[in-house]
Symmetry: C2
């Protein structure tokens, strides 16, 4: 049922045992939302716990200093999912709650969670923005810990206020979180500046093997299984590598070929405004968005490249 934030605030205020559920492969927004809500509920003297199917990534551990957040030693009276777009994103540890979610708070357009009360605001840059508004409704005092959680979700989901989902409200909430003592400098350094040694090694390899086609309007990077097995890099960090080809000035189509363990290649294509990536990938049995799409090609490297370049060729033929 679609619900308003006031009703959800009231429901939370009236409950004493609350379980918060994050999505699997947790990111800054689901963890920041869960942490922010957790600390708020504790401030109000309630029992609360967070549950997530996957371990908390090392880079987000600073949100949970005491690690008591993940101990469920009570029978939940209310179950709240945060930033969970669909029950398929719950994962094995939280699957059992799929049909028992009381409150669903999210900002994904495609939300498919069935809950007694749902608050989905697609215009929110991050679920943490909604949690901020909710906590204000609940008259929670936003302290340093809560501010750090909510800022983390907002800055990760907006690429530190760079992406188009950022709104005036996003900036105004950030201002308020600063005033609540949010440690934004350390958080930003940790999330955006520091790279693992493994990431740098994969990046070096990627740049060494950067290839250009069609008058340097297409850039291609290959990430081999041999490399991934030699260097154990975090999946979240690999995303940064995928952005490289399209970052180069003048490149319209950036391609990343990631070799699969079973052979063949996972292809990611990122394009500028003039090329539809999903159209290209559709021709190879894949799909996606206009600016970012993907497909899989069951072939060796040379064949894979040739198939791709053949599909791309018409674009540069005029």
């Amino acid at each position: 049922m679609e619900s308003c934030l006031e009703a959800i605030a009231q429901q939370l205020t009236q409950s004493d045992q609350i379980l918060i559920i994050s999505h699997k492969n947790p990111d800054g927004d689901t963890l920041g939302s869960a942490g922010g809500l957790f600390y708020a509920l504790k401030q109000l003297g309630k029992q609360a716990a967070i549950i997530c199917s996957d371990p908390i990534p090392k880079r987000f551990l600073y949100l949970f200093e005491e690690a008591q957040q993940f101990v469920l030693d009570f029978k939940p009276q209310l179950i709240v999912s945060v930033d969970v777009a669909d029950v398929t994103l719950l994962g094995p540890k939280t699957q059992e709650f799929a049909n028992q979610i009381d409150i669903c708070i999210d900002h994904h357009k495609s939300n498919g969670v069935i809950a007694k009360q749902s608050y989905i605001e697609v215009e929110a840059a991050a679920t943490c923005e909604i949690i901020y508004l909710l906590l204000k409704q609940m008259s929670v005092q936003i302290d340093r810990k809560i501010a750090n959680c909510l800022y983390t979700g907002i800055c990760t989901d907006t690429g530190c206020f760079k992406f188009s989902n950022t709104t005036p409200r996003t900036h105004r909430i950030a201002a308020a979180l600063f005033e609540s003592g949010c440690e934004y400098e350390q958080i930003n350094r940790r999330l955006f500046d520091i790279k693992s040694m493994e990431y740098m090694m994969v990046k070096r390899d990627a740049l060494e093997h950067l290839e250009f086609y069609y008058d340097k309007r297409v850039a291609l990077i290959v990430i081999s299984q041999a490399l991934l097995q030699k260097i154990q890099v975090d999946v979240a960090e690999l995303d940064g590598i995928s952005a490289i080809p399209r970052q180069i000035e003048g490149v319209d189509i950036g391609i990343i070929l990631k070799e699969r363990p079973e052979g063949g290649y996972k292809v990611s294509i990122r394009t500028g405004a003039t090329v539809d990536a999903s159209e290209l990938c559709k021709q190879l049995g894949g799909g996606g968005h206009a600016r970012a799409a993907g497909c899989a090609i069951d072939a060796d490297l040379e064949t894979t490249k040739n198939k791709l370049l053949k599909v791309i060729q018409p674009i540069f033929q005029e």
Copy 2:
């Protein structure tokens, strides 16, 4: 003379021919400040021009669509310097105005410009923040062009809201600029995502020759003259390369050795909280800040490295 923003606003409102001066090697803040003020003065029906000793870098050309901003075809009644910390930063084309500056608007602590009226606010993350407040005083309607200029200065000087100089006010001004139609998505992509081919080539070379010392707590990169002559990379972009060694997880000291055309090396040292970079550089005849310092070493590469490692050694000896 220290002056208040109201007085400066009044002075500008009462003048009809205004010359705006940016500092040499112009960055986003000096150009954004100049552009924002220029468009505001034109909106008020005044004659205005901007003068800068160096050409506008390609990456900031979007601020000046018509390029009429740089035509000085009137006798200035009022001369305003923006983001100019010292007269030594004027450069040959604007040096003649060094003793004629009427109004100096800046946010540098060390401001040494002599002007009839000065407004220096060190807490401002960018001079563009001050210009925003000034334009509000002048009852200027912040339109898209002005918003793009002011946002550019703010996001370049704060690393897109990442650095410690960002304040609640910075975020609130950004919110207001969004509401004035600022094209933040394109601006951020242009300023933070797109890299030149040359930059990627230098980065590749730097990563290829990354060296580690003292249990990987020291990382070192060499940028040779041979490379810089082969690849003509923009100086502003080279700054990004200097950050690489210290970005690596676990690295306390990042060192960049840039070979000078006349031989020898320009050394840049960046450190974490535990090491004082200026102390290290002082021992080699240089200086700087606690986290970023530099020196020059007149020697070949091997000797340069050895001198550096010898100065660093005591830190890791416990």
